[in-house]
Subunit: 237 residues, 2 copies
């Protein structure tokens, strides 16, 4: 019986990757005098991967990776005003409105009376807290965990720290790698809600798609819970 439902934030509750995709388009355009689009994108991704261990996830890390890639691709010829445009782009990304995805608000409002809701997100602490506040969804989440990495030790720690039994814990998110597989490994439940924008870094090959449920959107979660994870009293009916 599920008692706690934890939600991923970016691209599960509100759009996020699309802002990075459009920032990348801006970056490819800015650097188009130096290289072709495909090579620019490839070098940016390589810089991001190299920087992940140093700078972590989030907009500030992404801006630093764009700046480094711009210097590399221009062989140091990039102009100060163009670097400034990348910093400004980051500031804009951090300030953009946070609109919940369709069905999200209604689903949370419906679920909050029967389940303890939790938000588990990786990324930049200040940025994630600010987005939650701007989304207007903060009242639904008595527990908010901003973690450096969403892996098995992180989920184990959260489940233990809040005194939960894994079989009563459900994670809902758009990333098979971060939201689904580590949770299943702990004996807890997971529901995948795919997002077309999912970052290539989050892609996983050879997934056993029968091991977890996939729903089209959050509005379908309540019906899934009633069918697949019915509370004990339903069994008595």
């Amino acid at each position: 019986m599920i008692r706690t439902i934890a939600f991923d934030a970016d691209d599960t509750l509100w759009p996020n990757e699309r802002h990075f995709r459009s920032a990348e388009a801006f970056f490819r355009d800015l650097m188009s005098a130096y290289h072709d689009a495909e090579w620019i994108q490839e070098r940016l991704f390589a810089t991001e991967m190299r920087n992940l261990a140093h700078f972590g996830y989030g907009v500030k890390s992404f801006v630093l990776s764009m700046i480094e890639t711009a210097i590399e691709l221009s062989e140091g010829q990039i102009q100060g005003r163009d670097i400034q445009r990348l910093v400004d782009l980051g500031r804009d990304m951090l300030a953009h409105p946070v609109e919940p995805l369709p069905h999200v608000q209604a689903a949370l409002a419906e679920l909050q009376s029967d389940y303890r809701l939790m938000l588990i997100t990786k990324g930049d602490l200040l940025d994630q807290r600010a987005k939650l506040a701007r989304s207007g969804l903060d009242a639904y989440f008595p527990i908010v965990e901003v973690v450096p990495e969403k892996d098995v030790p992180t989920y184990r720690d959260i489940i233990q720290r809040h005194g939960l039994a894994p079989e009563t814990f459900l994670m809902v998110g758009n990333s098979v790698k971060s939201d689904i597989l580590p949770v299943l490994a702990l004996g807890a439940r997971a529901v995948h809600i795919p997002c077309p924008d999912t970052w290539i870094y989050e892609h996983v090959d050879d997934v056993d798609a029968t091991a977890f449920a996939t729903l089209e959107h959050l509005g379908l979660l309540k019906a899934w819970l009633e069918k697949e994870a019915a509370p004990p009293q339903s069994a008595q009916n």
Copy 2:
């Protein structure tokens, strides 16, 4: 009677500001062709203050502020390789060894059997977690809170969330603004351990220094606790 002791991290458990001070010296040197040292420092501080609401605390935010200031002070003439040196400087700052300050390790080892120890720090989540791991002090802290801002609502939330009575809670730190005043406002206790490097942003004027204790170093905390905040059984002796 104090049961929980929370510690600030940067410049309370390990040196931090001195790394920023030496990064600033590097920056003033890098920009010395354009302006004099005092003006460079003043503009950098102004950029940092302007960026705090957007980028928050921490090394990544500091690097972005150095880059913006460099572009401003050079009127866009700064070279790509010099911008790269600022990014590299940030990566170095994030990787530097974390050596506990004198007396810290022994004090924590002594206190951990009688008190629940907690770490409360603001800054970048990944950076702070990584520093705690590198310091070797992580085993002393069953509870670690990395918060976006250390103000009254933040401390109230932490105290409530962990089910603590304010009068049993002691905060220890080097910043009067962040570690002492908001804690006293909640009816909890606070001990100030000054650090000569404290960031100018953390300076507070007109403090009533009789409202809290000031100790020279953490090795003096146990004796202070025995004298000033003795457990009830001492009163019976």
